[in-house]
């Protein structure tokens, strides 16, 4: 099913030869036919341009796939279409008429429905109440018509071919079932435009097939489907056209029949950033960490890996592939239900972050603002936080000792803050990351786990962080790095491990690794020749 040659579903989906129409004809049709058109959309968040002059259109009876790396702007564009965000510039045409989509409510009214990436359901309500939340069938006096509510939910669930009791409390369903309810909710609007933002993230096997059947049925009913996915196999399976986003811009739009897998991957990653990575280290020493068959519910399935002294091991994978969960499990911040963790060959059980610290592990989390730093505290206080214990005298913090240790660390990490008393909320992203690093280094770890070490940091500071990581490795630390940024993974890892849906699906030595290969593994879960 995943082999590119047999790709896929073309026979299943009714209008299979639609994509084979002549390009010139199609271009004309698109002008006449587009159901929704977004023109020159620009959207900025504080400090980030999420979308830069993006245009996008979608036609009735067509599945338009949207792909791109994390943070490329796909979800932002869709949230604009769904009325969640208002763009700074640009216009939206619906059936040729300019419209303003001021709220999610307005989007629904205009016949636009969206399945969000994260579940938007309330666990304490019933399935039926969730499906019709905000649009409950009413009788006089604002009373809810429960009969119609349940029948309507049952009808749309049947259309999806799933057997879920609409009176069931949502919280009792599995995640996959909840995902189907989320889809049912979008379908129940009978919208002309259905946006699916990674609907397949938690679906597998039969549920995925049902989803594809539903998409085929929507197409037949002339609905415009916009399908965001990381999994390229699905794009080739269901989509008619595909648009590639990168760094808030559209790279291009292609008919799926006109493009093959490698060229799509190339469109997704082909970047021209001149990024300077530090030279690779040479000395790989003893084994620090060995993980064997680690399991954690549905998140991790028998994951094994090793990290050695002096080595940077990169973990690649899509969001939701279990990378962060793996790091949390190793560090003791997530309960596991199977597997062995060894530190320097000795079997250990790490059940809390405190244990992790005791075993000389450090974890720089993805969201350093929330989990890594206390915003209102100073550089000194933040950096000394986990290691306060050694610097107490009769229960009081020994400020002098603190100053000495943190000051030395700030110097060696080149932390650029006006003073150690500076509160961290006024520092740049790169400097904050260094403070987090200082905090962990003071506790004297042997293995450091970096989760997205350079997210939200500007390019210059990135290079500095990378250099620091390399220096640490050269000084004999073992480093495990999780990253969504392919250049970073390929650029500084000595070894690259790729995860897909909770499993380790491949290992690439740095000499053999290319962004393409990593992306292939991450999106398909297996490599294809090459």
């Amino acid at each position: 099913m995943r082999k590119p040659g047999q790709l896929v579903g073309r026979g299943v989906i009714p209008s299979a030869d639609k994509g084979k129409a002549l390009p010139s004809v199609k271009a004309e049709m698109s002008v006449a036919q587009s159901l929704v058109e977004m023109r020159n959309i620009t959207m900025t968040f504080p400090g980030v341009t999420a979308l830069d002059d993006v245009s996008f259109e979608s036609r009735p009876g067509e599945v338009h796939a949207v792909v791109g790396e994390n943070g490329a702007g796909k979800s932002t564009l869709m949230k604009i279409l769904a009325g969640v965000y208002q763009p700074d510039r640009g216009e939206i045409l619906l059936g040729g008429q300019p419209v303003r989509i001021s709220s999610p409510h307005e989007a629904q009214r205009l016949g636009i429905s969206i399945i969000y990436q994260e579940l938007n359901l309330l666990p304490d309500l019933t399935v039926a109440e969730n499906v019709f939340l905000g649009r409950e069938p009413r009788r006089a006096l604002g009373l809810i018509d429960d009969r119609t509510l349940e029948d309507g939910a049952r009808e749309v669930l049947n259309r999806l071919g799933v057997d879920i009791d609409p009176r069931m409390r949502l919280g009792r369903l599995s995640v996959a079932q909840q995902q189907m309810v989320e889809i049912a909710k979008a379908l129940s609007l009978n919208a002309q435009i259905v946006i699916m933002d990674e609907p397949s993230a938690s679906l597998g096997g039969r549920d995925l097939e049902r989803l594809f059947d539903v998409i085929a049925a929507l197409k037949k009913n002339n609905v415009a489907v916009i399908y965001i996915s990381h999994r390229l196999a699905e794009v080739f399976q269901v989509a008619d056209r595909v648009t590639v986003f990168k760094d808030g811009k559209v790279v291009g739009t292609q008919a799926v029949s006109d493009i093959d897998r490698p060229s799509l991957v190339r469109m997704m990653i082909g970047r021209t950033l001149s990024e300077t990575f530090p030279p690779r280290g040479k000395r790989v020493g003893e084994e620090i960490l060995r993980v064997e068959g680690l399991c954690c519910g549905e998140k991790l399935t028998a994951v094994s890996l090793t990290v050695h002294r002096g080595e940077i091991v990169g973990i690649a994978g899509l969001v939701g592939s279990g990378r962060t969960e793996l790091a949390q499990a190793i560090f003791g911040a997530r309960r596991t239900d199977g597997g062995v963790v060894r530190i320097k060959g000795r079997k250990v059980s790490i059940e809390s972050p405190r244990h992790g610290l005791q075993h000389k592990l450090g974890f720089l989390t993805e969201d350093r603002n929330l989990e890594g730093l206390v915003m209102g505290l100073s550089v000194r206080e933040n950096a000394a936080l986990p290691s306060l214990k050694g610097r107490q005298r009769f229960g009081f913090v020994d400020r002098k000792a603190e100053d000495k240790v943190v000051g030395g660390m700030a110097e060696s990490l080149r932390i650029r803050a006006p003073s150690l008393s500076q509160e961290v909320e006024y520092l740049s992203g790169g400097t904050r990351q260094k403070v987090v690093l200082a905090k962990w280094l003071i506790s004297g770890p042997e293995l450091l786990i970096f989760d997205e070490p350079t997210r939200g940091i500007d390019v210059g500071a990135k290079a500095e962080i990378w250099q620091l990581m390399r220096d640490l490795a050269d000084q004999g630390k073992a480093i495990l790095m999780i990253s969504s940024e392919l250049p970073e993974i390929v650029g500084i890892s000595d070894r690259i491990l790729v995860m897909h849906r909770g499993s380790m699906v491949g290992e690439l030595p740095s000499e053999a690794a290319t962004e393409e290969k990593v992306m292939m593994l991450a999106t398909y879960g297996e490599s294809h020749g090459e």
């Binding site: 969000y116 309330l122 304490d124 939340l133 009373l143």
Partner: protein, 334 residues
């Protein structure tokens, strides 16, 4: 033909369903039953009809305000201005009734009091949804403002009630006290509102997740306003009821002095299984919470326990009730 075995298993499965869906409710009513039993057996003074009616009268005062508090908690907030609202309504009502006592005037006074309450609720909602102040602080601040108005108007107990106004608290319908009927009607009304009306369901949805509710097209600000207006409205009912019971007004009748309706109503709501933070719960549980709090107050008094120790015990109950739910929720999450 239905065999006994089948009937039994059906009964059992219904019971299991009741247990799994309404665990809190079953538990609290069971505790209530046990407590009544203990009172009946251990304290002869407890089972005198006079005392039982007394418990019920106390329960009505707390019950009315707790109905609205349930909605404030359910929508994801908390209303700590109910105590001062009760005092305000109490002193204004008795102040006005001392001068205007005709039936027509009484109707006008009641309408005016309810209007004032709705404005207070609206003010709470405004501070919460527009000024983005956390409900705890917002309602505490609004409560302080109201208490200021109360003390500007009346510094000591006083005022009077119109003839016949005492029916609210003292009247009987057959063998049943009128206020008990009134409270049960209000519970039924609130139950119906939450279960059967669109607005009511949106209260729980907004409390469950304001973001999800908003993304589903619910106007969450309006829903929050409904909840806090209803909360202030039922606080006004308690204020009116207390004037009828006491025959006078008191600037501290809603708080500080003897009954702290802020704390007690929140205690009743949380004991009744409504989740702090919103999204889950209801008035049937709150009714049990109200009876439990009133019963405890009564038993403590009969047993001659120092009122300050009662405060300590009540505080412990609130904290443990919330802690038990929090711990259980954590257990579900992992």
């Amino acid at each position: 033909m239905v065999s006994d075995g089948l009937r039994l298993s059906r009964f059992r499965s219904r019971w299991q369903r009741l247990w799994s869906e309404h665990r809190e409710l079953v538990t609290i009513y069971a505790i209530l039953g046990v407590l009544i039993l203990i009172g009946m057996i251990a304290l002869p003074a407890f089972r005198s009809p006079r005392n039982l009616f007394n418990v019920l009268r106390q329960a009505v005062a707390l019950g009315l305000v707790s109905m609205g508090q349930t909605l404030a908690v359910l929508v994801g907030g908390i209303d700590l201005s109910v105590g001062s609202t009760i005092s305000l309504i109490g002193v204004y009502t008795t102040g006005l009734m001392a001068q205007y006592a005709s039936p027509g005037a009484v109707v006008l006074i009641v309408v005016a009091m309810i209007a004032i309450a709705l404005i207070i609720g609206l003010a709470n909602a405004f501070v919460i949804t527009r000024l983005h102040v956390a409900p705890f602080i917002a309602t505490m601040g609004v409560g302080a403002i109201i208490q200021g108005f109360v003390l500007l108007y009346a510094k000591r107990p006083g005022g009077a009630i119109a003839p016949g106004w005492d029916f609210f608290a003292e009247g009987m319908i057959g063998p049943v006290p009128f206020p008990v009927v009134f409270l049960l009607l209000l519970v039924a009304l609130a139950f119906f509102f939450l279960r059967k009306t669109v607005a009511g369901r949106h209260v729980a949805a907004t409390g469950g997740s304001e973001v999800i509710a908003r993304l589903s097209g619910i106007q969450t600000r309006r829903v929050t306003a409904y909840a806090f207006m209803i909360s202030a409205f039922t606080a006004a009912l308690t204020g009116l009821y207390l004037t009828s019971r006491m025959g006078a007004g008191d600037p501290l009748m809603g708080g500080l002095n003897y009954d702290r309706y802020d704390l007690d109503s929140v205690t009743a709501v949380l004991l009744g299984g409504t989740r702090l933070g919103g999204g889950k719960g209801g008035v049937v549980g709150t009714l049990a919470g109200v009876l439990l709090v009133s019963l405890l107050n009564n038993l403590f008094n009969l047993a001659g326990i120092n009122p300050y120790i009662q405060w300590i015990i009540k505080g412990l109950i609130v904290v443990s009730a919330v802690a038990i739910y929090a711990i259980r929720k954590q257990g579900e999450a992992t």
